[in-house]
Symmetry: C2
Subunit: 480 residues, 2 copies
Amino acid sequence: MSEAQQNSESSGWEYKGGTLHCNGLSLEELRLRLRQKYGHLGSPVFVYSAGILRENVMKYRDALQPLESRGMLSYSLKANSNPYLITELRDAGVAAATTVSGNEILMALKCGFLPEEIIFNGNGKQSWEVEMAVNRGVLLNIDSVFDAHRLVSISRRLGSRAKVLLRLNPVISVQTHPYLATALANSKFGIEMEQVEEVLKILSSAKAHGNNVSASNLIELRGVHIHIGSAISEVEAYVEVAKAAAKTLRHIQNNGWPEASTINLGGGLCIAEEIPVIGKDICNGRGPESDINENPKESSDSSTATINPPTPKELVAAVLPYLPEEAVLILEPGRSLVATSGVIMTDIIGVKRNGDKEFIVVDAAMTEVIRPALYGAVHQVAYVTCPHEQETAEFDIVGPVCESGDFILQGCQLHPGSSFVIWTAGAYCSSMSSNYNLRPHVVEVMVTSSKDFKVIRSPQTFDDLVKKYKAQYFSVPSPS
Amino acid sequence: MSEAQQNSESSGWEYKGGTLHCNGLSLEELRLRLRQKYGHLGSPVFVYSAGILRENVMKYRDALQPLESRGMLSYSLKANSNPYLITELRDAGVAAATTVSGNEILMALKCGFLPEEIIFNGNGKQSWEVEMAVNRGVLLNIDSVFDAHRLVSISRRLGSRAKVLLRLNPVISVQTHPYLATALANSKFGIEMEQVEEVLKILSSAKAHGNNVSASNLIELRGVHIHIGSAISEVEAYVEVAKAAAKTLRHIQNNGWPEASTINLGGGLCIAEEIPVIGKDICNGRGPESDINENPKESSDSSTATINPPTPKELVAAVLPYLPEEAVLILEPGRSLVATSGVIMTDIIGVKRNGDKEFIVVDAAMTEVIRPALYGAVHQVAYVTCPHEQETAEFDIVGPVCESGDFILQGCQLHPGSSFVIWTAGAYCSSMSSNYNLRPHVVEVMVTSSKDFKVIRSPQTFDDLVKKYKAQYFSVPSPS
């Protein structure tokens, strides 16, 4: 039993009487209520545990404790941008929000974060986004030479001081899916070390030309930012990152920016793919087949992660010795804060055979969980209610979307019951969802106690889908 | 100059004075109007040519001409489900709509198709979807043994006659991406040949137990359906399909269903990835690198397709000799009807370097065009206005989404101008789009003449995105 589970009996996932419970609430009960309320739109459903969200936040807060006010936990909104989930995280003690678009900045503000508690990252910031960030006092990372030029020009025009970090690409390769590695030599992200001087010159020139604010204050270079990717299982990679960050920070301090003191190490810690469930095993599948998606990296990563994913405490302990004494440390977890808090509960539509394969067709699909098709990611499944029958067979679990890439998990040994949950669906599932095949965005609920849940996103109806289309007619002067 | 271009000077894509025009309308003019109207939400934008849609429909109608009323052209909505685009296709002479979900059936009805002009396919039809289809008289395919049982039970309960086809999986492998092949031995789609007898027995039993309708009319088995996948460049594959379909149709006719006469050969014809443009070359890129996504199949498919994709006429001519004389032939194209009609016009955010790579960061992203990341698909790009400068360099074109999988096209030799169009974006781009990174769904316009265009989808605002979330609180009796 984990530390967190000892603290609170009702938090997390547990089988009672053969039925899976979330924070003490029976998922069968929940299922019934949603079917009563929404009919066929009651399934599939994203179910989040408020208790697990709070536990995950506590693990990071505990880890950052030794740094006192110099440690800052910032949630990466892109993992899951549901405002109720974001607010839950903020209430649990997440201090800041990491955003990657103007709309994510607006969402963070809507969820109660102050502008000075918002970080704006990204390799392609548009002018309106930079303007909004500078105007409101959001901390921006500078990702490239062009990004530096744009920032300086906008700060000058607005006469507003901009707080910035340099997003560095120190070329650190990690064991993860290529789509999830963001600091490779040929990555689109960050400033390569050879260009740091050039960016510093651009920022220095801004100091000399400020108009409304005092010249030396137009750009406030706070420090450096490095994010190496997602699903990282090696703490050693972060040690490399910390060393590179500390070295560049010293360089910046010695070259006209003595006040620079922030090191943002990004996010990306991998998670245990198997959530600890009390009472029953989950149905382990082997993930996508090699002929569908060549993906040894994330798959093997997941397997090792299952054994021993690094904890936030291990991460902080590993990097701390390499940070300057007075440095402010920012961590920007996304998936490791929210993935394990959520599942997709899905009903079985039917069971069929083709060739050597038996398929269980469920009502969830790649529209809700695209990670298996896109990254070869493994999302395990579990019974909502354990079947009485003992016999099992091997099944592929697939969705109803008209595309062979629409699979959930392959090679599962199980007995086809009535419903499943798809694990670790709190991150990069809802936020990457689509209306492909005109499938509606599904209902999302947050379980807050053994008796209470709240619907934090209503299911889309057909009318909602149609409302998006409106015709407007334009005539333009003939170009001839 | 193609046949279609000879028919109408203003249809299609053409450079005039160095600027790309759609149906005679300058894309720079269009760009300006959208920026005036929507500000930063005016880019990126899906631009569809009504003229090219009509030409593509005509090619299929011409091809089916020899069959007279026995040839039926049915558009697969999943390729692009914008109702204005669907209506344009219907007005151009598309006779039917192929749907894969209850919502797609509702959308087809909304666009003016009669129930008897709608086909409902899918490996995971839910009860409410089957009920709606049977109630309204939509033609359903039966995809599996469980699908047959469900259909019979629902028809009995409703006392309604159901018109059905058998979706067969004759095991025909094709040169395409594994996600796009749908008739492999281990595919989730269709009834394997060994199970056809069992399905026929289920349907026959239904004949004997009808209540409100005459017993022999409860199920109307119209024929067979085979769909082998997408991006198919070999007409020979369809010959195999036609032979298998004709053989099973004869078997069905001889076993108690003499009226069965329909052969639905599905869709999937590949397209020329390079749209013919008058006046200038497009900037050919090489597509995703092998270390990002092992995907030799679609890539090489695209390359051969570029040289000589089969025409609808060649397809029909190839299969016709193998069809029974009085058979009704249905074709269900999606991508080959709409892909070449659409582009994404996108502005450049900046140009940067990392390692050996030069990147052009544009404001379109995987949220609008996920096919490169998901299938390794190649979408070529072209200038909106050709640059005066002659020097070019090799660039990767990437989006601003925080993920290395967010690339548009790699290895393009070009001069970075101000804007690009991304080709062949009429299919599986808008319909697969997402709000990842809280990016809004972008504006879509249909160009109808050299002076006129209509906005067929307004851009989503931040308020639109937030509106989707509403909290509702529930309490349930404690389960203990």
